[in-house]
Structures are given as C-alpha cells and as structure tokens.
Symmetry: C2
Subunit: 96 residues, 2 copies
DNA sequence: TTTACACATAGGAATGTATCTATATATTAT
DNA sequence: ATAATATATAGATACATTCCTATGTGTAAA
C-alpha cells in the first residue's frame, strides 16, 4: 500500500489525534469510550477519527451499534521510516 | 535536546517545506538559491525556512550577505523514531 | 556615504481547520 | 412500529495557515 505521507503527517500534527492514537495503542475502543477521555463533544471526536481513518492510521469495524477503532501500526512505521529515508542515509537511521 | 514533536510534524506537513528539505538533503543552500526552485515569492520561502528553523529541522549560518541553510538529520531521525516508539513495540520497528 | 543586494518582518486577503449545536442514519430493544 | 442508543454528517463560527505586497535591516560595493 502506498501511504500519503502529507496526509499522514497532517493527521498526526494534532495533539488530540495523537492522544486518540495513544488510547488505541494496544486495544480497540469504540467512539463512546474514546469520548470519555476528552472534553470535546462526540462529533469532534468523530471528526478526528475520520481524519485518522483517511490517513490509514486507524481501521474500524462496526459491531452492533458500536464502531470499534484500532491502530494500524504498519502505517505508522512505514510512514515514519519512509520519510526518514528520503533525507537520511540508511546507515545513519538507527542512531538518534 | 528534547524536540517538540507536534511542532516537527506540523513543519513537515507542508509540501513546499518538504521540498525545501529535499533541496537541502546533501548540501547547504542560501535563500536565493532555494527561491529559484519555487514559484513562491522570497518572503514566503523565508517564512517556510523560519518554520523549519523553529522546529530544529534546519540550521543556518550567515556568511556575508547570504544566509545558508542546512538540514539537521539528527532531528529528523530522532523525531520519527521517537514518535514510532510511542505506538509500536520496539521489536517491530524495522519491519515496515 | 550612497547605492545595491540578500534576507527578514509586518500586515492583509484567501483558504483551511477545529469545534460547537442540530440533525440524520443505523441498530437494537420494547 | 416506536423509542432509545451509538455514531456520522451538516452548517456555522472562530482561529490558524499560506501567500501576497510593501517595507525594514544588515552587509558589501561604488
């Protein structure tokens, strides 16, 4: 899959979205569960989830009334590594 | 040095700034030389350079009338790797 | 010591983004 | 069928970002 790097980095340039990603680090959560960790209203959370989804950072599955979101770690590593490799010699990559 | 990840990702979320970074991949350039590769006016280029500088992505040195910019690859690898490690198990990091 | 050049800064217009409230849609339970 | 719940979408407002033109600042040459 060819990820859109600009879309990816725009998506992770928002602290609320990064916080959502942290919540999803090692478990699926539905929208209501995610909302409980924020002061924002549910439509704002849905908006952020949509941005993350369009950047392929999260995937979702509907189960009953709830929609569960989970992190796609392949996207994260692929985008971060791919970007670095544009600018830094491969042999230097692990160092910092 | 502790990089500001949000500032870093905002900075690289603009295609023109990424293009500047590409131009600086393995050589220093001054502002006029950078301008030649864009349709934007010089003040816009200066603005983008300032954003990159504030994110520690580029450094600059004044020599005579010219100001030369160069890429800080430590910042790039450190931010990209640091971000990944927030979300992905270390042993999976090289894979994607 | 003016003039020319390289770059930065200021201010404004157009566009994009985040958030809210209100409402639509889909699913389940009564 | 109707109501309740979970989520998404629409539209409005506030704020941020990008780009422009005009101008300021520092350095070198005439």
């Amino acid at each position: 899959m060819a990820y859109d790097l600009n879309k990816f980095f725009k998506a992770i340039s928002d602290p609320n979205r990064v916080k959502i990603m942290e919540l999803l680090k090692d478990k699926e959560l539905n929208v209501s569960e995610i909302c409980q960790h924020f002061d924002m209203q549910q439509p704002s959370v849905s908006h952020h989830l949509n941005v993350l989804k369009n950047a392929d950072i999260v995937a979702h599955s509907k189960r009953g009334k709830e929609v569960y979101y989970r992190l796609d770690s392949i996207c994260i590593t692929s985008c971060c590594n791919g970007f670095q490799e544009q600018f830094v010699e491969i042999e230097k990559l692990g160092k910092a």
